[in-house]
Symmetry: C2
Subunit: 204 residues, 2 copies
């Protein structure tokens, strides 16, 4: 199908323009690489549109995305200083969320993940960001730390025009159901299969 | 398999460090989204490492990646001005390559694609960049505009420590063979199936 053509014209009562600007839930899942990297690539486009971007990393280690974080925070500083692009906030779990008072209590990952989700709920309700990147959010859902039904209902009922990208393996079927766009990244060939470990600049 | 663990220790005469820093050929293929976006996300990491990045877009339309281009060129300007990060060059086909004298002759896409590949060959031979993004490069290969055997031999024989990411659908089996890392992006669900067209900030 050529780019830009659509398969069917739906009978949903929306104009093409309304449909075009409908806020999206996007899921990047599968065992392959690129799930998070593609989500952060999307943040580049959002920045260029002047959108407010909120990144929330649900991972223990802060090491793996430091390149993206530094680059996106550099763009965010440019926005703050010169007004180009949009604002980007980067929050990560593992050392205690930046907005949380419970610094040092990071041993309780379940509580920390739940706290992250509560903040995202507040921001969605307040129509805070135009793009949310919930990085590796499938894991706290799958471990039962965050309630999938609460996630689905919150996403479905969110106000305004807020796009949400969720990354991580084994996305819950209910999450796939509420998503507008689901891409599966499949590993076809990986250098670790040839005995190669991750390297600076490529993996982080 | 936990992050960082390797399946086998190969008997290739390389130390772990040599193996770790081995330059990679990476291919993002499949019908799903995120192939190019993930490649541009990798450029963020490369920028943060201070690497030289060369982006070559083998597409006719310049519209679709304008967000990433603007954001990465903004980071490149910061490098030029303040020395942070690394240099990023963004070249695109369709309006004539920036280094080419044949401006206005862009009607001959086959010649233009071949010209793009010749420049990439020169740069690879000269060890110019640390990361090359050859965006949608599978198409000129598949259309016979660029010779796959030449591509494979050039990539295999490239000097130094140059990483190459190639994106596009239907990657040639010979390209998959020479690649160290292949990820297939598969469409599970797409809003165009629901009659939604692309939208600003999401698709470009």
């Amino acid at each position: 199908m050529p780019k830009g053509e659509i398969a069917v014209t739906p009978n949903d009562g929306l104009s093409t323009r309304q449909r075009r600007n409908r806020p999206l839930i996007m899921v990047h899942t599968g065992d392959g690489k690129g799930k998070s990297t593609a989500a952060f690539g999307m943040a580049l486009r959002a920045w260029n549109q002047g959108w407010s971007v909120g990144v929330f990393q649900f991972v223990k280690s802060a090491k793996w995305r430091i390149g993206e974080q530094t680059a996106l925070e550099t763009l965010a500083e440019l926005h703050a200083k010169d007004g180009v692009g949009g604002p980007i906030e980067w929050h990560k779990m593992g050392s205690g969320w930046s907005w949380s008072r419970r610094q040092g209590s990071a041993e309780d990952h379940a509580a920390e993940a739940a706290e992250g989700w509560q903040e995202i709920k507040r921001r969605l309700a307040a129509d805070t960001h135009r793009l949310y990147v919930l990085d590796e959010f499938t894991y706290p859902i799958n471990w039962g730390w965050v309630d999938i039904d609460d996630v689905v209902q919150t996403l479905r009922d969110r106000p305004g025009n807020q796009h949400v990208v969720i990354t991580g393996r084994r996305a819950d079927p209910k999450l796939l159901e509420v998503a507008n766009l689901v891409t599966e990244m499949t590993k076809v060939k990986h250098p670790m299969d040839e005995g190669q470990k991750g390297q600076r600049g490529i993996e982080w």
